[in-house]
Amino acid sequence: MLDLRDLDVFYGGIRALKSISLHVSEGELVTLIGSNGAGKTTTLRAISGLLRPRKGTIVYDGEPIHALSPYHIVQRGISHCPEGRHIFGNLTVDENLRLGAIQRRDAREVRRDRDWVFSLFPVLAERLRQLGGTLSGGEQQMLAIARSLMSKPRLILLDEPSLGLAPVLVDTIFDVLRQLKESGRTILLVEQNARLALDIADRGYVLETGRLILQDTAEALRANEQVEQSYLGG
């Protein structure tokens, strides 16, 4: 479904990604792990159109998308839930969700999706009229994911959903991720918490300072000594 090939991405004069190649097949949950600054977020930003690669291609459903703006990327069914949540603090929960579906024209389907999202995260229904900025960290993360789901994406890019959250909340969120995976959605998950990520993923890639150093099935990575030491021990 998604195919990155030899991607080079620069931040100003600094090369953030070097020759990244990875792919995600439909229905898979693929995870991108690695230490801070490895380039995981950069990869997602390149896919969602916030960054333009200097070299290489990104192909989605057979169509090159690396030169498209975020507007067109969302149109094609890719949704990026960014690191740090980035919910609209001055807008209500309701408005946040509405924005998630801003491109959609099918009102009835949208309403059904809202109900579904509320079934995944019941607390959001309670806080519907509250401003996003008044929500707790965990609730904001739920809102961010819910908002991404409102665009009815076929491919979900998730960046660090567990960041800064208490373990209980993390479990809740990863339960939802599991549900999403079981319902057939394709997910590309970036995670600091490699253990959690590899528990849930089908396959994984390991990034280090902008390069891909390992790729394998999740099981194999879990058993891998190097991964064990660098990313799971900590």
């Binding site: 703006s69 507007y71 969302v74 149109q75 960014p82 001055n90 807008l91 408005e95 509405r98 665009s151």
Partner: protein, 298 residues
């Protein structure tokens, strides 16, 4: 004049001038909220509106037809301005964009000077706006009443727009968090153009009201009002619409109070004081009364 009459008089004056500042400040705030651009050329939208109105009135069209046409013309001018002056430099450092807005001001003002002339011209103010009513010792100019009512109506419409329509909510989202807004797939160019259009349209109304009060137009008429509008927006909370509105009325009240309080020969220093207050506000509470989310800047 009794104290009550005095307060009533001053309140009406403050509300009416506050309305004008609020209308102008909203346009500045909307654009700044989304683009971080302080658009000083916004004042020239007042000027464009007034000159367009003058041309149409002299051509014989009745005032009530002229007003909506002028608002549309000015909104369109705002869209053009964004497209050709600001979109090419989007992403530039804030100061570069501010300076560009100065350049746009100069281009607009001097175009009028070049084509029409620098002298001020009388504006045929319609009868209903020239009327003045007396209630005891209180003098009420109808233009002031119209200003207050028009602003109230426009504010209601604007609020509906930014809370009920997709574009309106997208605008608020973009001002809140541009990155996230982009990730939602908001049509960013359309949203920005809409912000300019609405802001300019409101400036057109402010311009027509101003012209009705002053009775004449000149190419530089928008410069000082936009500076004042900027002060209003900063005081209220720069970057948000409620902040702009609040700031407009606060500034209006401030000006009227200063005018009353300052002893005779010092009253003309009122404007200097207003700008001094701006500096103080920037120092003490740069995010204004309503305190929009602080941004880290060095």
């Amino acid at each position: 004049m009794s104290f009550l009459e005095y307060m009533l008089q001053q309140t009406i004056n403050a509300l009416s001038i506050g309305s004008l500042y609020a209308l102008m400040a909203i346009g500045l705030a909307m654009v700044f909220g989304i683009l971080r651009l302080i658009n000083f050329a916004h004042g020239d939208m007042m000027m464009v509106a007034s000159y367009s109105a003058l041309a149409l009135l002299l051509a014989g069209l009745p005032y009530w037809v002229v007003v909506p046409i002028v608002v549309l013309i000015t909104a369109f001018a705002g869209i053009l301005m964004e497209r050709f002056a600001y979109r090419p430099i989007r992403g530039a450092p804030d100061v570069a964009m501010l300076l560009t807005s100065f350049a746009v001001t100069i281009i607009l003002e001097n175009s009028v000077v070049m084509m029409i002339g620098a002298r001020s011209r009388p504006f045929p103010v319609p009868e209903f706006l020239r009327a003045v009513y007396h209630y005891g010792n209180v003098t009420v100019a109808s233009v002031n009443v119209v200003a207050i009512i028009a602003t109230a109506i426009l504010l209601v419409l604007l609020t509906l727009f930014v809370t009920r329509t997709d574009i309106g909510i997208s605008m608020r989202a973009a001002a809140d968090d541009m990155t996230a807004a982009q990730l939602m797939g908001i049509p960013i160019n359309r949203v920005i153009a809409a912000a300019f259009a609405i802001g300019s349209g409101l400036a057109a109304v402010a311009g027509l009201l101003w012209t009705a009060k002053v009775g004449k137009v000149d190419p530089y008429m928008g410069f000082f009002p936009v500076l004042k509008a900027f002060v209003a927006a900063v005081i209220g909370g720069f970057g948000t619409i409620p902040g702009a509105v609040l700031g407009g009325f606060v500034l209006g009240s401030l000006e009227i109070s200063l005018q009353g309080l300052l002893p005779g020969q010092w009253s003309s220093y009122r404007d200097a004081l207003v700008f001094g207050i701006l500096i103080v506000v920037l120092l003490v509470r740069p995010n204004g009364i309503l305190g929009a989310r602080a941004r880290e800047e060095i």
